[in-house]
Amino acid sequence: MTAQIELSQVNKHYGAYHALKDINLTIEKGSFVALVGPSGCGKSTLLRSLAGLEKITAGRLTIAGAEMTAVPPRKRDIAMVFQSYALYPHMTVEENLIYPLRMRGVSKTNAKAKAQEVAGFTGLSGLLTRYPRQLSGGQRQRVAMGRAVIRSPKAFLFDEPLSNLDAALRVSMRKEIRALHDRLGATSVYVTHDQIEAMTMADHVVVMRDGVIEQQGAPLTLYDRPENRFVAGFIGSPAMNFIAARAVDGASIALDLPGQPVIAVDRKGAAPLAPGQAVTAGLRPEHLRIVDGESGSDHQAFTLPVRLIESTGSLTYLSLGDTGDISLVEHGREHLRPGDRLTLTIDPGLVHLFDPETGRRV
């Protein structure tokens, strides 16, 4: 694996606003990297900096080994798919597709042949003479992708390309984009605010907040071992439950719930907890298990009242606790009513602990 894009100590200021703070990121050749975070976290700014549409204030950027920090977009050999698709409204689909080739001096005949080929595998064959306004949302999306893939650039940049599509189309385009990436062996950087898109499409996920990379790694690493409370809450749906707790001994904690129930935690080699140490326990809704009332005497279990039951048929979402702020997901259907009391337990290895002050994993 060689690095296709490297960012070191990249900073971006807009006047007094510090949009990107010391970004260090290496994107391997052929990998699919997702930049994910809430709006205003700097992910789009970072992508636009890669494209050259924003000038970075400090730091260094290389693409395929070449210094690109101050190079204008047209000389970076990258392709970008915009959120609004940015199709040229005064050109037909074919003219849109061949535009990047024509800009690079490819002859009209060759460019048109290439457009035919790209139209073939993006499903645009019958639409080449249409104008963008005559296309549906999904078709426009495909034209935008076709325009990006028609020349073989050093990297593809996607700026929330699916956010204008309806839910069903989004799921299918997700697969299409990933399939196209694999087929072309391309390097892709994909910006999204949707953690599901990031988790399902990417090989490497970069979680950002306030211009800082909070954590990066393989999607399941982020899910299994979030480095801080922000990442833990951002990755996974529904979001992780956070409950204040206090260490009882090195390997068990008392949750700040009625009755102060004690549950075991598996430290997996991490330093044992100091008795009395304040922590925040992170329990994923899908990891909480409902146990029978009989085993409720088990000291690992705790009991909560049901507030709200939402069922989708295959999954049941429960809101628990006096204020209903603890959520739980169960497969199948539950015959419960609000007010019923549930006894819950969780595998000690699935309890995440964070420092209440810094939010870091402890």
């Binding site: 494209a51 050259g52 047209r74 940015a86 800009m103």
Partner: protein
């Protein structure tokens, strides 16, 4: 009141207002075709019984209408070309950059629009005579009109540019254009309609311009039709049919242009509002 009845009432009101508005135009044409005695008949007739078409030929010959129209055309085209060439870039910059200096610039531009030509003409006259520009009076008038029309053009075209999404330009940059290339090949074609409409409006304004031409152009053979028409009228004028014929020949081309392009003009003016 039923729906159809109300619609008809409004239609009647609209027709009445249109008739009121267009009456002077009608009166101009009718008067130009009347005989000397019919012109002063009481009550006036609303239809010329014996249309005097030869009045037009006579006025065209005796008053050198062709020359006047040619001068008007030269001045109007000169002003439009100048304003379009200089104003388009200015409008683009004002549309794309947002900061406090741009806001100040825009405010100053709008301020210029407020000053009336009759107020500006004296300082402009003095300035131009210092520079020796009055030796080429038509050029002087072109410059003065261009200066007057520029703010109007810039403000209109700026809103056209603002309706072209910046992402299209960025896509152009990523696809291999330079900054100038993206402007010329992506933004300009998309703003074409708005620019065209603004240019036409300025052309029509410049074609009828009077104050600057009257004060700066002394030689009759360089004066535009607006000044020519004015010099036709004196304190003891009674040849209204000839004056009206002159006026009809003057507004004819402009009216034809507007009728031909009106659909485009209206859609160009409202395009920013609808999308």
């Amino acid at each position: 009141m039923s729906e159809t009845l109300r619609n008809r009432l409004f239609l009647a009101i609209a027709l009445l207002l249109a008739a009121l508005y267009l009456f002077p135009l009608y009166w101009m044409v009718v008067t130009s075709l009347k005989t000397g005695s019919a012109m002063f008949a009481t009550p006036p007739s609303f239809w010329p019984s014996e249309p005097q078409w030869q009045t037009y030929a006579y006025v065209w010959e005796s008053r050198a209408v062709g020359r006047y129209l040619w001068n008007s055309l030269v001045i109007a085209l000169g002003a439009v070309v100048l304003v379009t060439a200089l104003g388009t870039g200015c409008a683009y910059v004002l549309a794309r950059y947002r900061n406090v200096w741009i806001d100040i610039g825009l405010f100053l531009i709008l301020m210029l629009q407020v000053l009336p030509a009759s107020l500006m003409v004296t300082p402009i006259f003095v300035g131009f005579s210092q520079f020796g520009l009055l030796a080429t009076p038509r050029l002087a008038v072109i410059l003065a009109i261009a200066a007057k029309a520029m703010p109007f053009f810039v403000v209109l075209v700026r809103s056209t540019f603002m309706s072209v999404p910046a992402e299209l330009e960025e896509a152009g940059l990523v696809d291999g254009n330079s900054r100038v290339g993206a402007f010329l090949f992506i933004v300009l074609p998309l703003a074409r309609n708005g620019i065209l409409v603004s240019a036409i409006l300025i052309f029509m304004q410049a074609f009828g311009e009077f104050v600057y031409s009257k004060s700066m152009i002394q030689a009759a053979e360089l004066q535009p039709a607006s000044v020519g028409l004015n010099s036709f009228m004196g304190p003891n004028t009674n040849e209204w049919n000839n004056i009206m014929a002159f006026a009809a020949m003057y507004v004819g081309p402009i009216l034809a242009l507007f009728v031909l392009l009106q659909r485009r003009i209206v859609s160009g003016l409202t395009s920013g509002a609808l999308k």
